[in-house]
Symmetry: C2
């Protein structure tokens, strides 16, 4: 059995003016299901703790559950408890989820070896346009992959491809080399780049935007070929590079030049 927990805070993880309580409720469970997927665990139960604004809190709670319960049903998760509170502060939702692992055990961050391929599901970047709330956690895909193939290590991309890849590599005691031309860039990342909200390219968004909630995993080159040769995969899977002995993150540019990269993504700042 594995346990995951994730806390969402108004003003940090969402702006209540910009999104419905239903979508926030759905997301509060979805991020935990994504964490279970990262360990290739089958969701079992969820526990919902709320700090609700005193004024209007009852309606907020109802709408949170209206968003959360359909997702729980979809993935067979029992909402088995929690702690409901009220206060004068903003909404805080803390969800804990439990999951069962198959006889292969949980997929960990620490099993990648130099030479392993780096694979990623879906496409990346620009989740802020809506996918950050409406993504489908990759639970079924992770269970299927872990069942069918010998995955060495995995993580879900919650804080940005480069940041989460650096965590995977560091936990495995190796480095990672990313072939920039192969990173799957989402249409949302293209849209953001076209809108020129900042000077970031679509690839920049794909490399460092948070909340893609795709799976990033390590497999041997042979297993990688087997996976990529599988007809009708349940989700697009792309090889974006390989793990290397030298620690750190490395970019392999289309022209063959190899540059050091620093992990970029969302990190909580504490002073």
């Amino acid at each position: 059995m594995v346990v995951t927990t994730d806390m969402l805070m108004e003003g940090v993880d969402f702006q209540s003016q910009a999104v419905t309580w239903q979508r926030i409720g759905r997301k509060s469970l979805a991020v935990n299901l994504s964490d279970l997927a990262a360990m290739a665990a089958e969701p079992v139960a969820a526990f919902i703790s709320l700090a609700l604004p005193r004024s209007g809190g009852r309606r907020i709670a109802e709408e949170l559950y209206e968003g959360l319960l359909p997702l729980a049903n979809e993935f067979g998760v029992g909402v088995a408890g929690g702690d409901t509170n009220s206060w004068d502060g903003p909404l805080v939702v803390c969800v804990t989820a439990t999951g069962y692992v198959n006889p292969r055990g949980p997929l960990l961050r620490s099993g990648a070896r130099p030479g392993d391929d780096i694979l990623v599901t879906g496409s990346l970047g620009g989740s802020i346009l809506g996918r950050q709330f409406d993504f489908c956690p990759r639970v079924r895909e992770a269970l299927w992959l872990h069942q069918q193939f010998n995955l060495r290590a995995g993580i879900d991309i919650s804080d940005g491809l480069l940041l989460d890849l650096s965590r995977l590599a560091e936990a495995s005691g190796c480095g990672a080399e990313v072939e920039l031309a192969h990173v799957p860039v989402s249409p949302d990342a293209e849209r953001l780049a076209a809108a020129r909200a900042d000077n970031a390219t679509a690839l920049d968004h794909a490399l460092s935007d948070g909340e893609d909630f795709e799976l990033l995993f390590a497999v041997s080159p042979e297993e990688s070929r087997r996976i990529l040769a599988t007809p009708s995969l349940p989700v697009p899977i792309t090889r974006i590079g390989r793990f290397v002995e030298q620690p750190g993150l490395w970019a392999l540019r289309p022209d063959g030049i190899r540059d050091r990269m620093s992990p970029r993504g969302y990190e909580h700042v504490l002073t």
Copy 2:
């Protein structure tokens, strides 16, 4: 396996000016251990989610753990994960704990029957004078009682004797009759009454103050006699009444008069 979760919020569950972060950290785990005790479960692991004030948050986190870790060690609890965040709001600590139950299964709220005795550990009221932070969760006592005796139902007193007793009775589909003269009143409750902060008597405090974190449980009259006749109990245990068929809470006064009582205690208000 059982799972408990409890969220503590600055300004509601504690005032940060009035108490050290260490004591808040200790309490955030202790309340969960008390919930495990209420189910007669052996603590296994804890998961700590924090919403930390951005400014000074690192020191706050360190001090929370300084208070929490010694209690975890004392009860053999592994701090196995969590989610650390920062924001501009007040501190929120959400702890989830897991526990194993013995072959008898978890102690539930729903097993009391009319005629069962109501027993309580320790003495009640006035926890606001300090016990609300420094209480020792009744884990060892609950495991011992559940092992040695046939407990029918149990709960920990977190929101006040009458409120938690009414929950126990309601979950068991019966009522409860309290012999007011037998309720164990703590010295803190006496001190509060003597200070006349409000017009409450020491007994009032014992009946309705929250955060005693004592165990309240149901046993058959025979088992009650066995428990109360045990030499050197690990904690004082008092019989305070019995469960009855008629739903609701009933006070049996020293003069023999029987009055209906309403459950009093701490409830979160939502509008």
